[in-house]
Symmetry: C2
């Protein structure tokens, strides 16, 4: 998974990161779904109609991108996953050139009034029941304080079983959950939106609230029966091992392919790191040199404690942090 | 499950039921979440802000009620499930008196301009990230033509595995998924929103689109390994057997307790029917006198074919239909 940041539970449920009047105003651009005009929307006014599928059913897809040094980071991977999500959800094919152009405009508008990092969220919904046209918009806004703090200080994490499991033995599930499904293949079954990054995130949000209420910052999902590590509530899990090795659980099935993890592995390999996707278990986390939750806007948050067990800082903490930052700067 | 109607995929994805300009306008009442004022909202204007959790995360709960003969049918059961959903999602306790009053006002406004049945949807979300207050509103609108047609003509149904299964062995899952969890119990784990009627319905919507694309009207979820029957995509499954017997799969776990099924069983028992909640398998559906998908607005839609196998109309079809209608008239 990805975009820990817009999913930050304190961003909606707590009071710590609530926006004060002095906070910068978000930039909202409404995108015409079939590639037409782009218009600026006033954030002080409502945006979405009562009968939009996003509101009535969580029926849409999204991506969260880091805005850094004047541009949206890791753009291509996000665009690719966005396209895969839209296909899985059988939304009209988004015009990625148009989304790129709108993102460029939104980022430019943001920097006209603000400095530093920001987050950019793309939303693409099935739209209004009364019109049948999709809705689409881009928001560039400030990064919550909690996210910035966790980048530096790391996160205390609890492990938890999801409470449900994806049946990867069903035909087509493998392809769909890795985002490699071809457009509208006739054999795809209805349950395959498990691989799409949809707006239906209520369970993840509940898990983060639960974690917060019990003194944790985040959750790592594990398979109840085996202790196999899946992913963070809104991030991918990466371990660092001695000898310059990075590991992450193999994406697909229960595990949404992470854009930040992919960027990190691509960059790290070029720097001589040995990177592998393979099954990980809770014991592997405890034995690693360090454990990271990687996602687009929070980037890398080191796991400083797992289920109450302290995970000491490794000697190469700064190096890993730089590795992640450099991977996203490309 | 319930509220097949607002979930009707042709209502958002197809063209058949798209609203024409002559269609009646919905009545929208915005409810102050802490029990304050109620105000009418113009349906021609956007309602929801960019940072509302309903839009960003499908993070909220809803109920769909049938409006009939001047009132919201089966009110108490809907109110009870709404309260249970809100508790599971740790939303501030809704003031049910206020919701009842707002519903009464909305229904009254509807009948000032329209006749006949309508549907009433309650929505209660975690609200805007920037304010931290929940959002709440009620919409009374026309029932889609597809729904009215399916009430009369029945539905052709495909069975499908959900693609995921709920782990009911985890502590607390049983209570939570039957809506019997006490308020904010400390032992409840974060995954328990599986029992709440949340806005995160994307997978169900995808299943209905898939069914439609393959010539079916609806989906009945079955357990992949065993063929155990769970529920319709947006309804409860009820079978009618010889000797005046009604059966439905035991609610809880994978099966959301249905308000319409509960009303039907309550009423039918008083009429001398023997009603039982027990495990059902696909074979039980094929052997039944008749099979029904029951939900609030569509009421009862008889299953006329299952996976391509025709299920002939029973002699007592009209009687069953009346039984359901009478159950909802109370």
């Amino acid at each position: 998974m990805d975009s820990a940041d817009s999913a930050d539970p304190t961003d909606t449920a707590g009071s710590a990161s609530r926006r004060s009047p002095a906070d910068p105003q978000p930039v909202i651009l409404v995108v015409e779904p079939y590639g037409g005009s782009i218009r600026r929307h006033n954030p002080a006014l409502p945006l979405v109609y009562w009968d939009d599928a996003a509101v009535t059913r969580g029926d849409g897809v999204f991506e969260t991108l880091l805005v850094r040094k004047g541009r949206a980071a890791n753009f291509k991977r996000h665009a690719r996953r966005f396209l895969a999500s839209a296909r899985l959800m059988e939304l009209p094919e988004p015009d990625l050139d148009k989304w790129e152009e709108a993102t460029r405009q939104a980022v430019e508008s943001w920097y006209a009034e603000n400095d530093g990092d920001a987050r950019c969220v793309w939303t693409y919904t099935r739209g209004r029941a009364s019109t049948g046209h999709p809705s689409a918009w881009i928001v560039v806004s400030a990064i919550p304080q909690t996210t910035l703090r966790q980048r530096k200080a790391g996160v205390k994490v609890m492990t938890a079983p999801r409470g449900y499991s994806i049946n990867t033995m069903l035909p087509g599930v493998g392809d769909a959950t890795t985002g490699t499904a071809s457009p509208t293949p006739p054999s795809l079954a209805p349950w395959l939106t498990v691989g799409a990054k949809t707006l239906s995130y209520a369970a993840n949000m509940a898990a983060l609230r639960h974690a917060n209420a019990h003194g944790f910052d985040d959750v790592i999902w594990v398979e109840a029966e085996t202790g196999r590590v899946l992913e963070g509530a809104t991030s991918s899990v990466v371990t660092v091992k001695k000898g310059g090795r990075l590991r992450t659980p193999t994406p697909g099935g229960d595990i949404l392919p992470g854009t930040t993890q992919a960027a990190l592995f691509g960059h790290a390999r070029r720097q001589g790191w040995r990177c592998k996707e393979k099954d990980l278990y809770v014991d592997d986390l405890l034995r690693a040199e360090s454990v990271w939750l990687v996602s687009s806007v929070r980037m890398g948050a080191r796991v400083t404690a797992l289920d109450g067990r302290k995970l000491p800082a490794p000697d190469n903490e700064a190096e890993i942090r730089r590795l992640i930052a450099d991977a996203l700067a490309r």
